[in-house]
Symmetry: C2
Subunit: 112 residues, 2 copies
């Protein structure tokens, strides 16, 4: 079952699964993240994206967004939605950075 | 800007972004996957998940699902939705495998 990943995408999938369970297994339901576990995961694994844990507001915001159903737990699907949104945001930032370097032929960048 | 990832989650995000652009940049719009680029990505990067490219049906199914808007292109957000769904499916499979080993105290597994 635990074969080695053979591509970057497979590695990425395995890392997401392993990281979630590394934290979800610490207390309570082994297959969901409590608020404490989520905070630990965010600070330790995404600290540099979310402001190195100094920006407590960012951590609180993520928690509140994910805890919309108020059960105080984040399941794997909710975690993947967060990671997807973060990855899309990173990609958008990266593209904006790239496209600023070259001349535009449309007016998408207009501000009003 | 291109700092090294400091955690598994950051590595996973970078791998997803890099892999998408490795294929999206090959032809046409540099920031979307054409059907040909998507097929290449699926076969080369997820071959072992999708049946080592022998199961052409799997590739076609993914393409048709993602090409719901019929523009013939898959953008980064659509790609991330696919990867998220695949990762959740992998995780479910992994959990089912694990929970079969231990006694259950609820009736969630009943079939009728």
């Amino acid at each position: 079952m635990s074969k080695e990943p053979t591509s970057n995408l497979e590695s990425a999938m395995q890392m997401l699964i392993k990281t979630f369970h590394k934290y979800s297994g610490k207390e309570g339901d082994k297959y969901t993240l409590s608020r404490g576990e989520l905070k630990e995961l965010l600070v330790e694994e995404l600290g540099s994206y979310l402001g190195n844990s100094k920006d407590n507001e960012a951590v609180e915001k993520v928690m509140n967004d994910l805890d919309a159903n108020n059960d105080g737990e984040v399941d794997f699907t909710e975690f993947i939605i967060l990671m997807g949104a973060l990855t899309v945001a990173c990609n958008d930032f990266f593209l904006e950075f790239k496209t600023e370097d070259k001349p535009k032929d449309d007016s998408a960048a207009k501000t009003d």
